[in-house]
């Protein structure tokens, strides 16, 4: 007698075993099936950062972006509304747009000539008598289910339901607000174009490294040794900077305690008000001298907004997973509206630091790749995240904080990751 065949056991990891309080299992970074589940449960569900409104300032502007491995068109329609559209013709699945960016009144699929508005609506198609009914109302470029914009930062969620963007961002909203206040006009702009840096490593190594304050003293020793940089001291054993976990996977390294101790405007950027007189004058005019001074002492945040937006003081990184072992970091200099002298310095400094040949990021990338190769060895099987567990505390807003060099941010990310992966 032949037993009725049963479906093969679903690959359903026991997340609580793999993600423990102070250690996570190495396979979380390397198992292709886990990566496929992450696409469904994280990248196609939660809010993912896509782009900034300043990249498409005018009606009919568009730029090619992504959510996870998938391309997404960010467009502005004739009325100025922002859309996120899948780049897939509803007819035979052809990619409709082959340009990286541009301004045009419609997209035409080159395969059979179907024509779409910048809002994704099907405007027309050749030889319409071939269809019994008008298909224009039924078919169009599929929109990303939800679009949310916070202070110009555009996020998309492929899930129709779920927490609002504001709920998702939670405490990270405050960091974005503070970032924008470094502009005399209160706005960030993303206008300098992106470098794309590919690393042969899992995306979570990249994400965790962004608010890892333990590595700079070692990974970046080469540039701290030779550049006139004061970054090194921020991440030392005696630093007063703190790591903070906001919930929902978001975390920051809050360097303000160190900058406030220095009590010098623009010290955070390694310069002085005399070097950027126009910027400082415009900040004083916008916020008043006292408040401007406070802003210029505190500087900009160093925050990782789960799962893919890293604001690193003067740069913005967007993390894009391509496969379980391949990740792209898209990076550009932040630009502050109304601050042209400052913006020029931001671009120069960013270009030196980041991208495939950057003084900092080339070495970070090397570490992600070595970690990715390392965890494929099975002894030990675990990655240890216990640093600073004994000295975690709660700040005045109820967030968990720790020393600048502690693993607190990673522990928080993994708790959130576990909750997303355990969800049905």
């Amino acid at each position: 007698m032949i037993e009725a065949s049963t479906a093969p056991a679903a690959h359903r990891p026991h997340w609580a075993d793999l993600i423990q309080a102070e250690q996570v299992h190495g396979s979380l970074y390397t198992d292709p099936q886990i990566f496929q589940q992450e696409l469904r449960k994280i990248w196609q569900r939660t809010w993912v950062y896509v782009g900034h409104v300043s990249e498409i300032p005018k009606p009919f502007d568009f730029v090619m972006k992504s959510i996870g491995p998938d391309p997404v068109l960010m467009t502005r329609d004739k009325d100025g509304q922002v859309h996120l559209l899948h780049n897939r013709c509803p007819h035979r699945g052809n990619q409709v747009c082959e340009k990286h960016r541009g301004n045009q009144r419609s997209f035409t699929c080159n395969y059979h000539g179907w024509n779409f508005g910048l809002d994704g609506a099907l405007r027309g198609y050749p030889f319409p008598s071939g269809y019994a009914r008008d298909k224009r109302k039924e078919l169009g470029l599929a929109p990303v289910a939800r679009v949310g914009i916070y202070k110009g930062f555009v996020f998309g969620s492929m899930a129709a339901d779920g927490p609002s963007l504001e709920e998702h961002l939670g405490g990270a909203r405050d960091a974005i607000d503070k970032l924008c206040r470094n502009s005399p006009e209160g706005e960030v702009e993303v206008t300098a174009g992106f470098l794309q840096h590919k690393v042969m490593a899992n995306w979570k190594f990249v994400m965790e490294n962004e608010t890892d304050g333990y590595h700079p003293a070692f990974v970046h020793a080469s540039i701290f040794d030779v550049a006139d940089s004061q970054i090194g001291s921020l991440y030392g054993d005696t630093s007063t900077a703190v790591t903070r976990y906001f919930g929902n996977g978001h975390s920051e390294v809050d360097l303000r305690p160190e900058f406030r101790r220095r009590d010098k405007p623009l010290s955070w950027f390694g310069t002085t008000p005399e070097k950027l007189p126009d910027y400082v004058a415009r900040m004083n005019a916008a916020y008043g001298e006292d408040e401007a001074r406070r802003i210029l002492i505190d500087g900009t945040p160093h925050i990782m907004i789960f799962p893919n937006l890293f604001i690193a003081e003067i740069q913005m990184f967007v993390i894009q997973p391509l496969s379980v072992g391949e990740t792209v970091q898209h990076v550009t200099a932040l630009q502050f509206k109304g601050a042209s002298d400052f913006n020029r310095r931001l671009r120069q400094q960013t270009m030196g630091s980041v991208g495939p040949a950057g003084f900092l990021l080339a070495d970070d990338a090397e570490m992600y790749e070595r970690s990715h190769r390392g965890v494929q060895e099975k002894n030990p099987e675990w990655v240890y995240l216990g640093r600073g567990s004994h000295r975690e505390r709660i700040d005045e807003h109820g967030y968990r904080i720790g020393h600048a060099t502690d693993d607190l941010c990673s522990r928080g990310m993994w708790q959130h990751y576990r909750s997303l992966m355990e969800a049905a």
Binding site: A192, G193, F194, H197, V199, A221, V226, G352, P356, A362
Partner: protein, 170 residues
Amino acid sequence: MGAPDHALTGDLAEVVRHHRITQFLYREARLQDEHRYEEWESLWTEDAVYWVPANGEDIDPERDMSIVYDNRSRIGLRIRQFLTGKRYSQLPTSRLRRVIGNVEVLGEEHGGTRVTANMLLYESHRRGQILWASRNEYLLRAVDGQWRLAFKKVALVNNDTALTTMAFLI
């Protein structure tokens, strides 16, 4: 029927000049392949610009992000970073060999001689075997009888795509 002697002499002078320029470019390539950082740095003039654009060949480096956009002082910083012995993205170093070809001397201009060439580079690194290709543009200047680099632009063919780490000298 032959060309007059003075024309031949002129042609010969041009050939010799072309030869000297290509020998200089080959030498620069070898210093890069062999990570001879200080010798490579000594090839640059004091007003040098070393530029590796991203997202095309004709972006404005004063406005748009480039992969490398170094003035002379930043070239020096790049070299000093290697010399610390802690530039981990090049420890161990990539094994490199490149070919410079299609060398064209475009002409004289203020500040030097404009030259273009194609470059094909094979890299072997733990992350894999990677082929890099570029159109290079140079402004060469004779200083004390030696060619020097006043400007070098490396327009990678795939600079509008995601690139792996390239901390070596390109």
